[in-house]
Every structure is written in structure tokens, then in C-alpha cells.
Symmetry: C2
Subunit: 191 residues, 2 copies
Amino acid sequence: MQLLKERILRDGKVKEGNVLKVDSFLNHRMDISLMQEIGKEFRRRFPQPEINKILTIEASGIGIAAIAAQYFNNADVVFAKKTKSKNLDGELYTVQVFSFTRGVPFEVEVSKKYLDQDDCVLIIDDFLANGQALKGLMEIVRQSGARLAGCGIVIEKGFQEGGKLLREQGVNLQSLAIVDSIDNGAITFRE
Amino acid sequence: MQLLKERILRDGKVKEGNVLKVDSFLNHRMDISLMQEIGKEFRRRFPQPEINKILTIEASGIGIAAIAAQYFNNADVVFAKKTKSKNLDGELYTVQVFSFTRGVPFEVEVSKKYLDQDDCVLIIDDFLANGQALKGLMEIVRQSGARLAGCGIVIEKGFQEGGKLLREQGVNLQSLAIVDSIDNGAITFRE
């Protein structure tokens, strides 16, 4: 997605350790006009009319998924929760995800009420690196018996292995921008 | 807002301890069509043309704010972060908020880059009870020097004191539904 790549080049910041920060338009301040274009692009890449739910994970995924849902006939957005909430029903799909950032595992959960075998689900998230969070969301879809239409990612770090492994498994993974390398602050995208 | 009150009566669940759960349309599964009506209602209640930023707090506020921003000429959404992130700039507005739910204080932070004296800010959040989170966001706006246009809340628990105290201080606080009591599962709204 050309508009997104240009924005990353213009406003993305490369921090030490070649960490790409897109706080200024994606995951702290959100540029709503850009989110709308991202939503339209996801629809173009996932045209399946049967998609009726968008699944994401708190926190940064929520705004992107909410805006995008408007281009999917206002499909429901379900956001997975990261911390163990006081759910007295006990009616949860749960999965443990390992966070490389924090060095610890955390629990991801979705209420069984909001996802089941009648659903066709598109997973959306802001970033894909090693793919742990995405694999967790896919496992929740599997537990629910819903059909997975695919996974839409805004920015994939192509130099980490998550995307490669998922594509090898046949997942319909669409990343709007794939960063193949960050070298001394210079960002190179995959063609 | 009549549509919202009807939805709370239809789909809200009252759990033990008179806790109102609106997971099914607001803060776990999001009904996007309802979010759009909520966004339009916020615009009706905050018509000031100078509003250029919407400030909220992760996680549930983000989707509501993102959809609402579209009715404010795609104003930028800034979402405050709850955990201490690895911000090496050190350029943050921070405030400590006490969580009655968890019984502990937590840090709320916003990068100084995304809020300053040239901004006119509308704060949006899903719930208002004792008002701790909202007071924290207002304190961040105060630190930034920005103008506060007001605070828009989806559901206020009118039987807790947050809303009352803020209105007494002259805050332009607009809650789309105010629950005055929950008694044996029966919800009463303020007129």
C-alpha cells in the first residue's frame, strides 16, 4: 500500500536496536483518514462477502479494526483481552501467548458468546513480527470452530520469521507494508 | 440517548454486586453501527468547530474514539497508555490514577509530541464511575496547556460520585446514558 509506505518513510522513527516506531500515526496518535484508507485496502484484499466478524487484540488493534469494520458492512469487532478479567461465566476461549518484548507469557481470552462456528472471521492487527499474538488469535478462531477468512496486518517486520512461517502454513496473510530491513535508520520495503 | 438506553436494557447484563456488563456491544464485542450513532451524538453535544483532537485511554475507549473522530472532521485520536512504556525520549505527560477495580495505582501517559497548547481536546471514554481515569486525562490536558472542550462518556454510573463532582467543578461533561440505580437487576436511567 503505497500511501502507507510513504507515511512510514515520512513519519516513522527508527530507534536504537533498529526498532521502528509509528506512534505518530498508528499506535498512540491515530490518523483517522489513513485508518480509513487502510480499512478500504483490507476490504480490497479480503473481498469475501461472508466475513461477519473482525477479531483483534487490545490495545492498538482496536481502533484499526473498528474503522476497517465499516468497509465490511459494519461487521462486529471482537477484541481479545490480554489480562485475565474477572469473568465469572468461565465461558472463554483462552490461549497463552509469549511476549518477546516483555519476556513473559500472557493470557489472551475471548468470550465464547461472541465467536462460534457460524462466524467467518478476519483477524486484523497493527504489527506482525514473530507472530506470537497472531498465532494466539488464530488458535482462538480454531477453538471456536469459526472459519478464518485471513489475517490483515498493517506493518509486517519481514526480517522476523512470523510472516514467513504463517505463509508456509497456507495462511491467507496480507500485510499492507512489509519492512524487509532497517539498516542504520534506512527502511527497505519488500516489493 | 434513547437508542443506547434501549440497548443497555436489552443486552446489558447485571452481575452480582450490581455490576453492569455491556460486553456484548461496547467493550468486548463492538457494534459498529451503534458506535456510529454514538459518534454522531457526541458531535451533536460538542459542536465546537475548534475541536481537533480526541483523547481517550486504552483499551475500550479506543474504538469508540476512532469511530467518533470521523464526525469531528477526522480529528486525530490520541490514546493514553496505561503501562509504563519504554519511551526513551522521556517526553511524556504522566499522571497516576488509582484503580478501584484493581486496588492499585497505575501510570497514565501521553507523549508530549501529540498534545500541546494549540490543541482543543475532547476527552471520550466508555465508562464513568468514580472518575479517576477521567480526572487523570483532564490532568494530562492541563499539563499540555491544551484547551478542554469537554468530556463525552458513553455510560455513567450516576450512583457513584465521579460525574457529580466533575459537574460541580464546571466540567462540560456529557454522558449518553446515566444509570441512576441498579436494583435486583433492574436498571433505572436518569431522565
